[in-house]
Amino acid sequence: MILANLPALQIVLPLLAAPLCVLFRREAISYAISLVTSWLSLAVAIALLQSVLASGPISYHFGGWAPPWGIEYRVDEVNAFVLLIVTAIGAVVISYAAPSVAKEVAQPRRYLFYTSYLLCLAGLLGVTITGDAFNVFVFLEISSLSSYILISLGQDRRALTAAYRYLIFGTIGATFYLIGVGLLYQVTGTLNIADLAQRIDPLIGNRTVRVAFVFVVVGVAMKAALFPLHIWLPSAYAYAPSVVTAFLAATATKVSIYVLLRIFLTVFGPEFAFDAYQLGYILMPFAIAAMFVGSAVAIFQLDIKRMLAYSSVAQIGYMVLGISLATSLGVTAGILHLFNHALIKGALFLAMGCVFYRIGSVQLADLAGIGKRMPWTMGAFVAGGLSLIGVPGTVGFISKWYLILAALEKGWWWIAVLILLSSLLAIIYVWRVVEVAYFKEAPEGGVKDDDGKGEAPLVMLVPTWALIVANVYFGLDTRVSVGTALQAAQSLMGAGG
């Protein structure tokens, strides 16, 4: 019974847990509910992935209505992997959250924080698991609306404008997506993704389909913060509470990239997207620009969360670059980086959350001497930074390896050069922080909200280091990550073709 309904449980669990939090209106109870739900979701995701890897894709008919009339949840290698990423990050982040939320969110709003977190989780998982194009929109809105709330809970008043800006962009993106889906519905008469894929095939020259494609791609690219549609992202990440930043950075943009993949490769199919529309050549310049502009701007940031946010823009560029190569290996690299970057950025933002918990600031100048005071936290930051640079022995290296290999496979050696060059920029912005943290003397009397204590509490350190260990582990033993990404890419490239 439970096994058969796993796909539904994945969504229903967090979706129902959220109103429970509102009912109780207690911080402690809502925290406990979120914690249990997050870990249960992870267990469900692991079970789903195992089942998919063992016995192929699962199709779940909601309410017993057969697709294409009813809503279908469809789990294959690709989204099972993304579900695993999202739930794993959710579980780690929520284990870390309690002290950080207590510090950064005002008491009366804390249960709301947990409620919105659960809704956001449910939304992201829903986007990933559903096999219905309109359902994607619904869940996209659930996750977006709850993330506007989460961002606006930040202490800084600028969090409000950041959330507002995100709201505007997010709504435009979602609307574009909806217009696209509407046009597709008009032409094909179906919303089920698998069904759409079949019916679109003969319509390759249709002008409505083409317009729909453009609307959908632009809409989702806005959600994914693909350069130059990224301008909502840095402020949103910088002013949101630390926990929210870590969670969103590691999951939200990843899910949007997944939707892009789904639309390109399943709905339209590789031949349609890459051969007929030359999508690779359209995306590639933006991806490369993202890599360089994101990294270059990151170098000049004074706020470290903002710096990491710009670095995320660059990293999204890497993922899209992999996809735009339009080969099985390229898509593998893109999916792999989705997973790896979640680990890297999750760890880095959690480390910054620890710093913020102690000194109440993540301005570069305020970090002077923090290396000595918080050796474990900054150790985690340096390790995460090395992973971001792509030093061997970390996941960042594995991503670069596949990305460059994919470029070389196509014979585009200049792309390989560009990837290597842009990693040099990462050295610069990571090491700026290292130098200040370790070699500058701590200021007298500390920063204004400084609580004067040393290392962050264990509850926060353990999840941070768990992600760092994952960074190293999956950088050395790549059977799970590379294996799954390869399978996922094959199923994507094969299915639509």
Binding site: P392, L405, L420, L421, S423, W431, Y438, F439
Partner: protein, 489 residues
């Protein structure tokens, strides 16, 4: 104990040592005991492996598969065996010296210092035993990162700036060029194994070979081939034991070691010679060799002069590899050991003088030999070995290198070697001469200077003695290394 267990132990011992050192924070005696015991244990472990390699064994261990078809893999071969011996033996002497130096200078953060040192040795052994280019690259980068806190040990503005140069050049070149070269090799060949005779035959041809060689040579920043040598002089702000680590024990040696590995086992000397695309490397190395010697002469700071001398001596090894004859390759490999013992002696002496008198500039060192005779005699021995005069080790490697140049038909490089030796004399021996024969200036504050602490003096005597031993027992080293020449010695 089986050899594969020993190989794993050789990696485990320094790593465990590092952990124990960290656990001994705040207890200096215990910490330094741990360091010494670890160093000696490691040396014993490494020595146990030596007979196997002499007997022609090439033991292998596969640790785990990192990427499909690409494992983290260890394999012992003569070149790596030699590097492992050099690094592990000099670590003992260097540790003794560190105790004397760090205590005398009352340096802060000594636990971090010893722990990073142990990790650096761990990665040096990983580099030495690497069985494919991927494994080597992994340990190569760990070495860079673990030595960064050592270079910036003092934490001053100057140290941070030097650290930036150090990390920027080493990490930058290795990611931009070396990783690029590795990926290119992997994409074309589908293998990164070290195999006698190389793995590129039939996969690369024409100018691509030259370009790949360029990427590898400039990707191995630790070999300090001009013009990417800047990090080495910059790193002289570090405490002297660290300079010894950089110049003799691990870092630059790992660089030229990798150069030899790549040329012998990735390209293959025959393959490169037939392709004709390696000629540029000879000229670049030759130029680097002479230029660095010339720059060394202009430096008044003793450590800076020694640093440029190292740049020049490293170019000997690269030139040996680039000449591509069996004799020159073996000579280049021998030069790793010979130079290590000579240069570590010189740095130990420089540090001892600094500890005893606070002097760093050569022009202030008049008459220093009269108050520190032991140190300066050791300096003389080290200098003669670096110059390449009998009865010291350095003479053999330079002899073989010159023979290799004759074999290769590029007689001009025999001249380069000779001119460089003369330059070595010109920048090293005046220091000794001033120390002994020029009386101290009355106002130079030389009164009351005595020999450095015993922990500093004993190691430098040991390494100076080592230079002598290497002259006498050079045949053992030669016999070990002959197989890598690929032909009859």
């Amino acid at each position: 104990m089986s050899v594969s267990t020993l190989m794993l132990l050789a990696l485990a011992v320094p790593m465990v040592g590092a952990v124990l050192i960290l656990m001994s924070a705040g207890r200096p005696n215990q910490r330094e005991c741990v360091t010494l015991v670890t160093a000696v244990t490691l040396f014993v472990v490494v020595l146990q492996m030596l007979p196997v390699v002499y007997a022609g064994g090439r033991p292998e261990v596969t640790l785990f598969t990192m990427l499909p078809g690409l494992a983290i893999h260890l394999q012992l071969e003569p070149l790596g065996m030699m590097f492992a011996c050099v690094a592990s033996s000099l670590w003992i002497v260097n540790s003794i010296y560190s105790i004397g130096y760090m205590r005398a200078k009352k340096e802060a953060n000594q636990t971090r210092f010893y722990a990073c040192f142990a990790i650096a040795i761990f990665s040096a052994l990983g580099v030495a035993m690497a069985g494919n280019m991927m494994t080597l690259f992994l340990f190569y980068e760990i070495l860079t990162i673990s030595t960064y806190p050592l270079v910036t040990h003092s934490g001053t503005q100057e140290a941070v700036r030097s650290g930036r140069t150090y990390l920027g050049i080493l990490l930058g070149t290795s990611i931009l060029f070396q990783l690029g070269a590795i990926l290119w090799t992997w994409a074309e060949v589908g293998s990164l194994d070290f195999r006698m005779g190389g793995i590129l035959a039939g996969k690369f041809e024409g100018p691509a070979i030259g370009l790949l060689l360029f990427l590898y040579m400039y990707g191995i920043g630790k070999a300090a081939l001009m013009p990417i040598h800047r990090w080495l002089p910059a790193a002289m702000v570090a405490p002297t034991p660290v300079s010894a680590l950089l110049h003799a024990v691990a870092v630059v040696k790992a660089g030229v070691f990798t150069v030899l590995k790549v040329i012998v086992y990735i390209f293959g000397t025959d393959f490169l010679r037939e392709s004709g695309y390696a000629d540029w490397l000879m000229y670049v190395a030759g130029a680097s060799l002479l230029l660095a010697s010339l720059i060394a002469m202009t430096k008044d700071n003793l450590k800076a002069r020694l640093a440029y001398s190292t740049v020049s001596q490293l170019a000997y090894v690269v030139l040996g590899a680039a000449l591509l004859t069996p004799m020159s390759v073996v000579g280049g490999a021998m030069h790793i050991t010979m130079h290590a013992f000579g240069k570590i002696t010189l740095f130990f002496c420089a540090g001892a003088i600094y500890v005893a008198s606070g002097k760093t500039q050569i022009s202030d060192m008049d008459g220093i030999g009269r108050v520190m005779p032991v140190t300066l005699v050791a300096f003389l021995v080290g200098s003669l070995s670096v110059i390449g005069l009998p009865p010291l080790g350095g003479s053999w490697s330079k002899y073989f290198l010159a023979l290799g140049a004759v074999d290769s038909g590029h007689i001009v490089f025999v001249a380069v070697f000779m001119i460089s030796s003369l330059l070595n004399i010109a920048y090293l021996l005046p220091i000794v001469a001033r120390g002994f024969f020029v009386p101290a200036k009355p106002d130079s504050g030389s009164a009351g200077i005595r020999e450095a602490p015993i922990f500093c003096v004993v190691p430098l005597c040991l390494t100076a003695f080592g230079c002598l031993l290497l002259f006498v027992f050079a045949d053992k080293l030669f016999a070990l290394l002959t197989p890598i020449g690929g032909g009859p010695g």
